[in-house]
Amino acid sequence: MDEVEKRVIDLIAEVLVDVNKENIQLDSKIVEDLGAESLDIYDMIALLEDEFHLEITDEEVEKIQTVKDVADFIRVAKQAS
């Protein structure tokens, strides 16, 4: 697991009140497996944007399913910037 992936898991764990960090895997689906609801997603987006200095549009959020998808998106966005 690389630094971006580790940090993404940290932030998701910070947001989801009922989920322990140890139970978050790279292939965990954020909604289906981790139980995130819309307010959790908005909260995560705000934290990720702040942490990685990027913008995630609502269209881009639609395409994200797993924890790994988040980390991949961040790596691509950082390279592009």
Binding site: E14, V17, L39, Y42, D43, A46, E49, D50, E55
Partner: protein, 413 residues
């Protein structure tokens, strides 16, 4: 339906004197001030640099999950932690069997002002799309009581009370009426406030309302003293569990005190100044006594509003004299704000708890820093040292900017 008797069966609190009722009562009866330098923001440019701040580690018993804390404004955190203590103290199981008979009424003067200030900083400096989605839930005042209902599964009547410095007392009074009238069996009530913020201190300073005795923080809040120079702001929460006599008896609850009276009035006079004649506060106390069905001489202790402002302390003294007449010199009075500072929307709630503790323990807390009484304030304010005294009935006063007045009467259970 016959009126229900209403008992206090659980209490919890956080102030600058500590987390929990026990720590608070120890400090209050020892006459210890909790006022110190403001650390929550840089006060360099501010006239007032002191307040009654709550210590960082205010949830020693872990009543609230740290992850949930993150999603709350400080005023909500105080309410949830104090409610945790009060619920544990009451020994109530939750979620309740009859959830629609259990409600929440909690007061706050300014709610999540810190979150509003933070959010406004972001919208101005970084732009609107950077505003955090939880800004709204942290800002608004009804989310304090809503978070309590979510936590405890209380599905009955639920609302916030916004009444400036009377919010806490109004909340307890309205919750008391709800149980008395049979509309609920159990109520979580009280007040919570966390407005030691830049905007709040600046605005109170512009009104010249705050003490600027920055070099002597523990001596700054000095109700009824000649040398007082304004109030000292505090923060925290007080939560009480109110329960109908029937409900409390059925489950064998410990009765801490009975609430027997509530009176509420307004000065109809001015946006910040109290009417100097004390007429409406007198009526609040009188109505509370009538509600309790007792004469003034039955009162053994008055927990005064006692803000340490020139106008309040004179006016409140006058209101007490109007009600008690010649007997006003025999009643024990004190302002616990001399030690906690003024907790705005939480003040009435923590002072209700101190009144309950005074009755239970037979101790009248002192007014500290009362060295040279204002000649217009010549009653027995229990100067500087707690006094042992059996108290059958206590009354707690709260008055607000805007003229809202409330008085609560407690009886030994």
């Amino acid at each position: 339906m016959t009126a229900q008797r209403v008992f206090v069966t659980g209490i919890g609190m956080i102030t600058c004197l500590g987390s929990g009722v026990a720590a608070n009562w120890e400090a209050i009866t020892a006459g210890r001030s909790g006022i110190g330098p403001i650390t929550l923001f840089d006060t360099a440019k501010f006239a007032t640099k002191i307040a009654g701040e709550v210590d960082g580690a205010f949830d020693p018993h872990g009543y609230v999950n740290p992850k949930e804390m993150r999603r709350m404004d400080r005023y909500q955190q105080f309410a949830l932690v104090s409610a945790g203590e009060a619920m544990a103290h009451a020994g109530l199981e939750w979620p309740p069997v009859n959830p629609y008979r259990c409600g929440v009424v909690v007061g706050s003067g300014m709610g999540g002002l810190a979150s509003i200030e933070e959010g406004f900083d972001v919208v101005r400096n970084k732009g609107p799309r950077h505003v955090h989605p939880l800004t709204l839930t942290k800002a608004v005042i009804n989310l304090g009581p809503a978070m309590l209902s979510i936590k405890y599964g209380f599905k009955g009547p639920n609302f916030g009370v916004v009444n400036a410095c009377t919010s806490g007392a109004s909340a307890v009074g309205e919750a008391y009426r709800m149980v008395r009238e049979g509309r609920a069996d159990v109520m979580i009530t009280g007040g919570t406030e966390a407005v030691i913020t830049e905007l709040s201190i600046a605005a109170f300073n512009s009104l010249r309302a705050l003490s600027t005795r920055n070099d002597e923080p523990t001596r700054a809040s000095r109700p009824f003293d000649r040398d007082r120079d304004g109030f000292v702001i505090g923060e925290g929460a007080g939560i009480l569990i109110l329960e109908s006599g029937e409900h409390a008896q059925r489950r064998g609850a410990t009765l801490l005190a009975e609430i027997v009276g509530y009176g509420a009035t307004d000065d109809a006079y001015h946006v910040v100044m109290p009417d100097a004649n004390g007429e409406a506060p007198y009526w609040a106390m009188r109505l509370a006594l009538e509600d309790a069905g007792i004469e003034p001489e039955a009162i053994g202790y008055i927990n005064a509003h006692g803000t340490s402002t020139d106008l309040n302390d004179k006016m409140e003294t006058l209101a007490i004299k109007k009600l008690f007449g010649a007997k006003s010199y025999r009643v024990s009075i004190s302002s616990t704000k001399s030690m906690t500072g003024h907790l705005i929307g939480a003040a009435g709630a923590i002072e209700a708890i101190y009144s309950v503790m005074a009755i239970r323990n037979g101790i009248v807390p002192p007014t500290i820093n009362l060295e040279n009484p204002d000649p217009d304030c010549d009653l027995d304010y229990t100067p500087n040292k707690a006094v042992s005294k059996q108290v059958e009935y206590a009354i707690s006063n709260s008055f607000a900017f805007g003229g809202q007045n409330a008085a609560l009467v407690f009886r030994r259970a």
